[in-house]
Amino acid sequence: MAGFLERITERLNIYREPGWYKKFDHKWTMVIDLDKCNGCGACVLACYAENNISVVGKADCDKSRAFSWLRIERYVEGEYPDVKVKFIPIMCQHCSKAPCETGCPVYATYHNQDGLNVQVYNRCVGTFTCATYCPYDVRRFNWRTYKFEQPLDNQLNPDVTVREMGVMEKCTFCIQRIRGAKDKAKDEGREVQDGEIQPACVQSCPTGAMTFGDLQNPGSEVAKLAKNPRRYRLLEDLNTDPSAIYLKRVMNDGAGTHEE
């Protein structure tokens, strides 16, 4: 019994140490340039196709059970001729100090060695705590086991599980592609190169607004973009330290000011 308690306190003390999340192997980061985003929704569609996300239908959508891991928020300002529309794609921010991880009673959501905030479906008992704690509202709950009718089940991705009822799920930064790239790199005896891993949304973005890479690697594309003066992160004042970085839009006013 004493040994068990010691193990738990040891585990918890890792989290109390400042900067514990900087000691991981990688820090996968996504940079989204809102100046390039035109809200086409290709990323949402790609996410649905890649991750076997169920299409819930209208009835469930009306009960606010919509299921997209990646959603595009629209903000419309002004009346018709003088209208401004803004788009922000929002997916799981993979916070380094994730609020959702503190709540889970069964340790189903935790930080893995890649600095990713991951969800273990088999452990999840569906207490909903993580979704309540999440300030970005990106966690999705399986209210029922959605069926993939024939012939739709033929397009399921074999690298991703089909989740069942009562399980919380969310964006994984396409962890199956990260694992695939690592596997390939290990076979060839090298480290994972920058730009080798492309999550489905990044791959499908027609304007190239999204970039994915390792922030710990100073030469990576992401590390360069992260120094951009337009950089900001969502709800940064909550001190969640998100891994998704957004670049502000440049306004069309001649002076090139950034959107606030």
Binding site: Y121, D183, K186
Partner: protein
């Protein structure tokens, strides 16, 4: 009191018989294949290496069932008079794959790359048992003709035990990130 002991003995004997019969005939332990292919003849007596037929085991996630062409590579010449080989040839002439039954079936939520394990030097026999002495592939160990234990239970604890302890025999250290959930689950 005597009756009580008798009941326990009868119960135990019935349980053991049931357990043995279950192990012998349970379809998931030793399924009947469409062609009674004998690993004993191929891998045991004729000493064909595993990778000769299961070619993708060191290149891919799946060990791979050999295609009919690989069978016909030898059997267009060897033992063509046997009725079983003629059965095989009929598949070849119909241009149909042989509906082999999978024995080691991992659940959908497990990511298991064969190549990683083969390249680390884990022998096939570690998980699949002494295939070279099996006529029909079985997941049970068969000493004295009585199957009573499974070679690999395919349970998570069994995987992790190797990742933590036995891996030191093959690669010198425990598997890197070997106990992280998302290393093996998907």
């Amino acid at each position: 009191m005597k009756k009580f002991i008798l009941y326990i003995i009868i119960g135990a004997v019935t349980f053991m018989m049931g357990y043995t019969i279950n192990g012998l005939y349970s379809p998931d332990i030793s399924p009947v294949q469409p062609i009674p292919f004998s690993h004993k003849i191929h891998a045991g007596i004729n000493k064909i290496p595993c990778m000769y037929c299961h070619i993708t085991a060191e290149k891919s996630r799946h060990a791979g069932v050999p295609n009919v062409k690989r069978c016909m590579g030898c059997h267009s010449i060897i033992r063509t008079d046997s009725p079983l080989i003629q059965n095989l040839t009929s598949y070849w002439e119909k241009k149909e794959p042989i509906p082999w039954v999978k024995v080691y079936n991992l659940p959908d939520h497990v990511y298991f790359p064969h190549k990683r394990h083969v390249k680390a030097g884990v022998p096939c026999q570690r998980c699949h048992g002494d295939v070279a002495n099996m006529d029909r592939i079985t997941r049970a160990v068969v000493p004295f003709g009585i199957p009573y234990l499974r070679v690999s239970p395919l349970k998570m604890g069994w995987c992790l035990d190797c990742h933590k302890n036995e891996a030191q025999k093959y690669i010198g250290t425990p598997v890197k990130n070997g106990t992280d959930c998302w290393t093996c689950h998907k």
